[in-house]
Symmetry: C2
Subunit: 121 residues, 2 copies
Amino acid sequence: MTLGTHFILDLEGAPFAALDDERLVHEALVVAVGEMGARVLGVYLHRLEPQGVSGVVVISESHLTIHTWPERGEAAIDLFSCGDPARARDAARRLPEKLSASRFTLREIPRGVPEATEPSL
Amino acid sequence: MTLGTHFILDLEGAPFAALDDERLVHEALVVAVGEMGARVLGVYLHRLEPQGVSGVVVISESHLTIHTWPERGEAAIDLFSCGDPARARDAARRLPEKLSASRFTLREIPRGVPEATEPSL
């Protein structure tokens, strides 16, 4: 039994202004958590110098993090969800548009140590 | 050029008491960040009911998160590092022992949208 699903989202082609806007990033993350049907335990964003935002939303038994590189138009996001993976996937897929990115890749990783392989009967 | 390396660490066989101990988990995370040679921007831990800890350390352009399931002896950790990957890898590999886990798996994912393939000349 897996512990949850980890979504690894990389996006590019986003405007400098969007990726450097702490309020816009904050709203995008909180809205995404709402779309998952999850409850926010805390939101912690840090503006970096000379640009960029690093932040995380802690959700019950889950999290959503972001790091932005406005000067490259890129951001790295990860969403760890112990809830409904379909809702989490949909929420993750909507994030690039919220940040006006032109291209993204989304990977999924089942979490937990794999079971030792048992001989089949 | 990748944005950084994402280490995905799953551990099991850890004592209930260790995975349910917010102070022990806090110390393990902060020590790991120090081993990476990185600077902590903030530590945010939440105790879950009836057991477990969800938390994150925000590091400049990086993060370290954990979710523990004391009743299963398992924890899911991820470490996103934009610094020296060798130091981050070493720090990640030392975390299971800090939580007295008997077994772990560690995966590494280069972050960033892959470059479009250019025809070779």
